[in-house]
C-alpha cells in the first residue's frame, strides 16, 4: 500500500493503523528537527513503545502542556485528531502568533496512541475494544480501563472490581504500564501546567473531580475557561458541547486521569469527549475527522492560551 513519503502527503481524512501513525511521527520528527522530538516514555504490556512527541523551541524544562489521545482504544477519532494536531502545531508555529508565543515560552507534549495494545487490537480483532490488553490473573477477561487506574480516588465508586467490566480499575493504582509511564514522566518532568486527555464521544468538556463531589479549589476558573473553550469550538461548525465537573456532568468515575493530574498540582486539567453529532458513536465516519480536529483545536488553543497568560 502506498506509504506517504512525507507528512504533507499524509491523509488526515482517514483512519490509520498503529504502524502508519508511528511512521507519521517519525516523519514529522525528521522533517522538523528543531521543533519536534520523540520521547519513548515506556512500553505497553505487549511491548509497544509509548511514543510522546515533544514540541519545543529550546530552553530547559520549560513549563509544559500535555495532550493525550486514544487512551480508550476504540475512540478512533481521538488518535486521528491527535495526528492532525501534531501537523497543525508544526504548520502554525511561526505563522500563528498565539501558538508561536506559547511555543517560545512553553513546551507541548502529545501522546497520540496512549493505549497501543488496545488500538492494535481494535484493528486486528475487536473494533469495540476499549481497555488495555494485559491478562487478568484468575479471569478469562483481559484488560484494565486505563481511565480508572490512576491513584486518585482509586477503587472508589465509579469503577468496577470485575475484570470483565469495561470499567475495571485494575488490581491496584498505576498497575498498567501505559498509565504508570505517564505518571513517572509527569512526576520526573515536574513542570506541567496543563493536562488534556481526549476521549470520544458525547461532546463534553470536563474538569475535576470525578471521584468526589467536593469542588476543585479552582472550580470557578476552570468552569469559565471551559465555557470560553466550548464557545470557540462551536464557532466553527456549531457543535454543541456541555461542560462542567466530571461528577456533576456525567457520573461518578474513580481513578480517573485528570483527577490525578489535578491533585499533582496541574491546575488546567481537562478531559474532552469529542463529537458524535448525532448517530455514529464510536464509528464516526472518516469524513468527520478533520472537522472534529479543527473545532477541537480552537478549544485547545483557548486552554493553552489561558495557561500561557496565567503562569502559576
Amino acid at each position: 500500500l502506498a506509504q506517504p513519503r512525507n507528512t504533507d502527503s499524509f491523509d488526515f481524512s482517514r483512519y490509520h493503523t498503529i504502524s502508519e501513525i508511528y511512521s507519521f511521527q517519525d516523519m514529522l520528527v525528521a522533517e522538523n528537527p528543531n521543533l519536534v522530538s520523540k520521547i519513548v516514555i515506556g512500553s505497553s504490556y505487549e511491548g509497544r513503545p509509548l511514543n510522546v512527541l515533544k514540541f519545543s523551541t529550546g530552553g530547559t524544562n520549560r513549563p509544559a502542556i500535555w495532550i493525550d489521545t486514544g487512551i480508550h482504544s476504540r475512540e478512533w477519532v481521538t488518535q486521528a485528531s491527535g495526528t492532525w494536531f501534531a501537523k497543525k502545531i508544526v504548520t502554525d508555529y511561526g505563522r500563528d502568533p498565539a501558538l508561536t508565543a506559547i511555543l517560545n515560552k512553553m513546551d507541548i507534549f502529545l501522546e497520540i496512541v496512549t493505549n497501543p495494545d488496545g488500538f492494535a487490537y481494535t484493528h486486528s480483532s475487536n473494533r469495540m475494544w476499549r481497555k488495555t490488553r494485559k491478562p487478568n490473573p484468575g479471569s478469562s477477561c483481559a484488560g484494565v480501563d486505563p481511565n480508572r487506574n490512576w491513584d486518585s480516588g482509586f477503587g472508589g465508586p465509579g469503577a468496577s472490581s470485575n475484570p470483565c467490566s469495561e470499567t475495571y480499575r485494575g488490581p491496584r493504582a498505576h498497575s498498567e504500564s501505559e498509565v504508570k509511564s505517564i505518571v513517572d514522566f509527569v512526576k520526573s518532568h515536574g513542570n506541567f501546567k496543563a493536562f488534556i486527555s481526549i476521549h470520544s464521544y458525547s461532546q463534553m468538556l470536563l474538569y475535576p473531580f470525578g471521584y468526589t463531589k467536593t469542588p476543585a479549589k479552582d472550580q470557578a476558573e476552570l468552569h469559565n475557561l471551559a465555557q470560553r473553550a466550548i464557545t470557540d469550538l462551536a464557532s466553527l461548525y456549531g457543535t454543541r458541547y456541555r461542560y462542567g465537573s466530571i461528577i456533576n456532568t456525567i457520573y461518578q468515575a474513580s481513578g480517573g486521569t485528570i483527577d490525578w493530574t489535578y491533585e499533582q498540582g496541574i491546575k488546567y486539567s481537562y478531559t474532552f469527549e469529542l463529537r458524535d453529532t448525532g448517530r455514529y458513536g464510536f464509528i464516526l465516519p472518516a469524513n468527520q475527522i478533520i472537522p472534529t480536529a479543527q473545532e477541537t483545536w480552537l478549544a485547545l488553543m483557548a486552554i493553552m492560551n489561558h495557561t500561557y497568560n496565567n503562569p502559576y
Binding site: S13, R14, Y15, R127, G281, P285
Partner: protein, 93 residues
C-alpha cells in the same frame, strides 16, 4: 476477529429518574453483555447501548415494558464496521 452481525446500538431516552435507574439496572445485567457507549448522566441526555443480537429481544421487551422510549441508532453494527474497513482500505490504496 470479533464480528458484530445483528448487534444494534439503541439510543435510549429516559423520561425521569425512575427510568434512569431502570436503565442503570440494565447495565448491571451482565448476562446480556450490553456495552455502554454513552452512559447514564441525567434525564435530558440519551443513553447509547450496544446490544448483542442474542440479547436484543429481551432488552427491547424490558424497555417497552417499562415504557422507556428508544430509537435504533445503528441497525446492524457489522454493516457499519464493514463500510469503515472498506473505506480505510480504499483510501490506503
Amino acid at each position: 476477529k470479533v464480528t458484530f452481525e445483528g448487534h444494534q446500538v439503541l439510543r435510549i431516552l429516559p423520561k425521569d429518574e425512575a427510568q434512569l435507574s431502570l436503565i442503570k439496572n440494565l447495565e448491571e445485567m451482565i448476562e446480556f453483555q450490553v456495552d455502554i457507549w454513552m452512559g447514564v448522566t441525567d434525564v435530558s441526555n440519551p443513553v447509547d447501548v450496544r446490544v448483542p443480537f442474542q440479547s436484543l429481544q429481551f432488552v427491547k421487551i424490558y424497555l417497552e415494558a417499562q415504557n422507556i422510549d428508544y430509537t435504533i441508532m445503528i441497525e446492524d453494527l457489522q454493516v457499519v464496521l464493514d463500510e469503515e474497513q472498506e473505506e480505510m482500505e480504499a483510501a490506503a490504496r
